[in-house]
Symmetry: C2
Subunit: 225 residues, 2 copies
DNA sequence: TAACCTACCAAACACTTGTTAGGGAAGCCG
DNA sequence: CGGCTTCCCTAACAAGTGTTTGGTAGGTTA
């Protein structure tokens, strides 16, 4: 039974930091290294399909040795996802507190999202695939919370935009929200950092399509075949 | 070792129908029932996280009894995914062979996709989550093939559209393709049949956003707050 | 009635899984 | 030197995994 509550160096989201820490104190840098390779494997194979032995293999050590650094396999994803979401929300909050107009808010959120994908592509892929399935366990309730904040932020900007006339009023706003949200984040499944397009370039193209559509507008420069 | 090749009633994609079938012959209707509940569980929990015992539970029987109908857990997903893709491609081919213009082709493909999501929501969700991870095994190579056909169909329509001036020429066409593809299919993660919107309604709204953007066009009816 | 077939159960099998306990090598500090 | 700390290994554990085997209740056919 995996309930021997005895955390050596908890950094996850569960706030109970009780029980005086054991004598062992693994270095945070090594943890980050291991979490990085773990995230890569999780993203590629899926969380449940990934064995602890595979992660250890990729890290050049044996399965049991991982437990010097981490409590459990679960606390690895926990730490991967929660640190990603923390960084994400500092970026998002900066945008939301900037007092921008609705359109500029959407633009900034999209750009920030693609930057986040650039930095945490593996974590984003994991979040995409497993968050819904993980959110059941109480340890990962913060995933559901984050989803709610997400929705409020985007829906708020969209609603304000419709009220001010900068977004179309004839669209189902919740559909538009899902449309925006999904297209942005699924990009993590094909995006590879160091490719032809920078995150900002992708954000620009993406915003161009979402805001203006893929058919030519009248006042745009004429095409030539 | 799970290699005792002895299929009782193979319907998957692997073309080897060798070895005279054993005396048992399960009814196809019961198979479809079981595959339906299996697809539901797979979609909700993920393929690897789903145990055979859970599926059997949901179907009101014991784990071993499933093996009267199916060779293995793997052949269940195989059959789920391949029958879905078969139906999908008959629909797609009908559209592609209709000789429509680029814009009409895109519209028809999108609408057909949402209809397919309506009919096979669980299968689509499984395809979304697991196809990349399953495509490694030789049995599921048809997933990769399908992905290629997919890309050719959409990219072809987009390129023709750009050439004919009905789509903007200033967009990276591969980026546009990925955006189209992803937004359409991720809808399976939130779509629930019998909801407020019919598949055709969703397709209409989605196409409206993709084609014309979410900001108001000049010649559109004016908004009123 | 007897033979047969369908669809399931009961019980086990071999194997993989996450996890643990104890030990030991290398380096640093007194 | 001896003690201490960091990091990993060896070897095992118990639980859970997909799968197999043999059996059997109930219906259909002859």
């Amino acid at each position: 039974m995996p309930n021997s509550t005895r955390n050596r160096a908890s950094t996850g989201n569960s706030a109970k930091n009780s029980e005086k820490k054991t004598t062992v104190t693994p270095s945070p840098e090594r943890r980050r290294e291991l979490l990085s390779t773990a995230a890569e494997v999780f993203a590629a194979q899926g969380y449940d399909a990934t064995t602890v032995r595979r992660i250890a293999d990729e890290a050049g050590m044996l399965a049991g040795s991982l437990y010097y650094h981490f409590d459990s396999k679960e606390s690895m994803v926990d730490e991967i996802l929660s640190t990603f979401l923390n960084e994400l929300w500092t970026g998002y909050d900066a945008v939301l507190d900037a007092g921008l107009g609705p359109r500029e808010t959407v633009e900034a959120l999209v750009t920030e999202s693609f930057r986040e994908i650039d930095r945490h592509r593996a974590a984003v892929a994991i979040y995409q695939k497993e968050s819904q399935h993980l959110a059941d366990r109480p340890r990962f309730h913060y995933l559901t919370e984050s989803r709610g904040r997400f929705e409020r932020a985007w829906l708020g900007a969209l609603e304000r935009g419709v009220a001010e006339g900068v977004f179309r009023a004839d669209l189902d706003i919740r559909l538009a929200y899902r449309f925006l949200r999904d297209t942005v984040w699924v990009a993590a499944s094909w995006y590879r950092p160091g490719g032809r397009h920078s995150p900002e370039e992708i954000a620009r193209q993406y915003l161009s399509m979402v805001l203006d559509g893929i058919t030519p507008r009248e006042e745009q420069e004429p095409q030539e075949p």
